[in-house]
């Protein structure tokens, strides 16, 4: 079993626990142990865009220091918001010497950090390190006939400098779905924002987007939508059930994490805890796949 350093972030321990559980299981199947950093803190969820306030960069950078101190030159993430925030903070350290010096001087209990850790998203592990062949080899329940809408959202591909795929035409989810034996469906809103943090103080704005995105996926023939973001998941799954209260004719589409889809194909559907989803995916998965229905 190969150990790789893993930064979970807060959501993966709470709201998105099934994201982590499914990722740990499918990794183990592929001979990879996601080794959680022994100490970590919240990354701050959003990268600060304010040029003159470096305080907001300390959270993500501290995590990179932890990884370095534990002897890792690579750090893997699952949450696309953590991934984005850590990568951008790392770019700041690497590219802006004056800011790096200020940050290092401020954190005088830590050894200086120069940007030595490479941050990767788990999808990069699959695509660039293990390769799709490794994924394909673990499939025991090919997702034949399952139409999957890949919802990339914002943070996996933007900005270009740190994005893991083409911001206008990403393909990594499509490649994953194909490797699992399913059919990726093209749908027009795959990189459109769900409304993000506005879900807290402008629910209506998010509900509009929830409707556009999920109805767009449905219209394109999707049985299920996949995501890598716990906030997108909330906005598309939980908010979809809020949407149904005001728009009862809306045809719901379940939204699951990409690692849950892998768990189904790998034969471990029980890790997914689908009963906790607002839009229950079990019925459509039962209909379409051999083993998706279990819990």
């Amino acid at each position: 079993m190969r150990d790789i350093a893993y930064y979970p972030g807060c959501s993966l321990k709470e709201a998105a626990k099934s994201f982590e559980d499914s990722a740990l299981k499918v990794s183990e199947e592929m001979g990879v142990n996601l080794k959680e950093l022994s100490r970590w803190n919240c990354c701050g969820t959003v990268y600060s865009l304010t040029d003159d306030n470096l305080m907001k960069q300390l959270g993500p950078i501290r995590n990179l220091i932890r990884a370095r101190d534990e002897g890792s030159d690579e750090l893997y993430t699952l949450c696309s918001m953590c991934d984005n925030t850590l990568k951008r903070a790392n770019s700041l350290v690497r590219g802006e010497e004056d800011k790096r010096d200020k940050i290092n001087n401020f954190m005088d209990q830590e050894n200086d950090y120069e940007g030595s850790v490479e941050v990767h998203h788990y999808l990069e592990l699959l695509r660039d390190d293990l390769g799709w062949g490794e994924v394909r080899d673990r499939v025991v329940n090919p997702l034949e006939g399952l139409n999957v809408a890949p919802y990339y959202g914002c943070m996996l591909t933007r900005p270009k400098e740190i994005g893991l795929d083409d911001p206008h035409d990403p393909t990594v989810f499509d490649e994953l779905v194909e490797s699992l034996g399913g059919t990726p469906v093209d749908f027009p809103y795959e990189t459109e924002c769900c409304g993000s943090y506005n879900t807290v103080d402008n629910e209506e704005m998010v509900l509009n987007k929830t409707q556009t995105i999920t109805a767009g996926a449905k219209k394109s023939g999707a049985d299920v939508i996949i995501t890598a973001c716990p906030l997108c998941h909330f906005n598309l799954d939980s908010r979809q059930s809020d949407l149904l209260e005001v728009a009862p004719n809306h045809k719901p589409v379940p939204v699951i994490y990409f690692t849950q889809l892998m768990a189904i194909a790998f034969g471990y559907p029980e890790v997914n805890k689908f009963a906790e989803h607002a839009i229950d995916p079990r019925e459509v998965l039962e209909l379409k796949t051999k083993a998706g229905s279990e819990r």
Binding site: C10, S11, E14, A15, A16, C42, G44, T45, V46, S48, L49, T50, D51, D52, N53, K56, C79, M81, C154, R158, P159, K160, P167, H168, T191, E192, C193, G195, S196, Y197, N198, T199, V200, D201, N202, M205, N208, K209, P230, L231, F234, S238
Partner: protein
């Protein structure tokens, strides 16, 4: 147009907070064409930038920076490489640094919200 001194400062302040050169925007409107939330905005993103260029302080009352979801769609589309979301953040910061929080945690229904939503919202909308 009333370009008072304090209004002219707006341009400099936004440039300082965002680290962007606001005058590199040539008003092509691509940012607004691709922004997914213009329906909810009272001014288009490029209009906000134009007003900041002109030092028009009335733009601070716009709901646009508070509607912006930092989705970075405009950032990848801008032919001049302008970081529009950083400019939106600067506009928010100007209010937040005057202790004008946009969101009051005590008045929110937070019980069903995941932490990722709360933390990100409070990072963007409170000082």
């Amino acid at each position: 147009m009333d370009l008072t001194n304090s209004d002219r400062d707006l341009t400099a302040e936004v440039e300082e907070l965002s680290g962007e050169n606001i005058f590199s925007c040539y008003q092509c409107g691509k940012c607004s064409a691709g922004c997914p939330f213009t329906e909810e905005m009272d001014q288009l993103p490029n209009q906000v930038l134009r007003k900041v260029q002109m030092g028009d302080g009335s733009v601070l009352d716009s709901n646009t920076p508070w509607t912006c979801a930092s989705c970075l769609s405009c950032e990848v589309d801008c032919p001049k490489g302008n970081d529009v979301p950083a400019i939106m953040e600067a506009m928010r910061e100007i209010s937040l640094r005057k202790n004008l929080d946009r969101v009051d945690l005590n008045e929110l229904e937070t019980k069903d919200l995941p932490e990722i939503a709360l933390v990100s919202n409070l990072r963007k909308k409170t000082g």
